[in-house]
Symmetry: C2
Subunit: 120 residues, 2 copies
Amino acid sequence: MHKVTVLDKKGALDCPIRDVINRIGDKWSLLILVVLSEQPTRFNELKRTIGDISQKVLTKVLKELEQEGYITRTAYDESPPKVVYDLTEMGISVLTPVGHLIDWAEKNHAMIKGNRSKTD
Amino acid sequence: MHKVTVLDKKGALDCPIRDVINRIGDKWSLLILVVLSEQPTRFNELKRTIGDISQKVLTKVLKELEQEGYITRTAYDESPPKVVYDLTEMGISVLTPVGHLIDWAEKNHAMIKGNRSKTD
DNA sequence: CAGCATCCCAGAGGATACTG
DNA sequence: CAGTATCCTCTGGGATGCTG
């Protein structure tokens, strides 16, 4: 098994993995990163692709992802306005470990659903 | 880059990775799995090790982790009661992809914190 | 020891209306 | 088009007290 360390001395929550989980572990961030991995995408295009995200939340999450360096925001001075979001190098690179987790999720999905239904 | 697919036809949220993120993406689950990876652990021992988790939440998360098949719960019929939690095969196996994410988090932690402080 | 029951709160996220 | 601004709901999680 892969050796894992999350705890540190100061407190269980103050560790790198929590910063990452807090970011991509929410309802939408990971999805946004994946959509952007297909191609640079405009605001409303992103909203349409995801479908059921509210505009407020999309704005908020995009800001946070940008602030932590996962994505870039490029505004073109046109009318109507045009803003394009894209992955940074860091945003691209996190998709590798995330991809492993996704692979695992797909392989074990049936088992998880099976377990869950047993005790319903 | 690792090729990633999360979206499906029916809706963005109905996909395996969301089941996993919803489970280990909360405040405590991942931490519990990691603690258990060290050794099988009793309820209050788990609580002490983690430190600042409330009893209510620990109970709840343990139940959910058990229900989805990540951990086992073994109650010994003694007085005082003794209940030991341990990882299942599935619980062990998820720590591999999770470990990759943790590695990534550690390598990129400085950059994330740096990015964050730039725009504070 | 290993919980259950209850009360409480902050924040995530949705809906809607408005703007440069 | 790409957002801001409000209002509202719902739930994750904490605090406290009690029990077999």
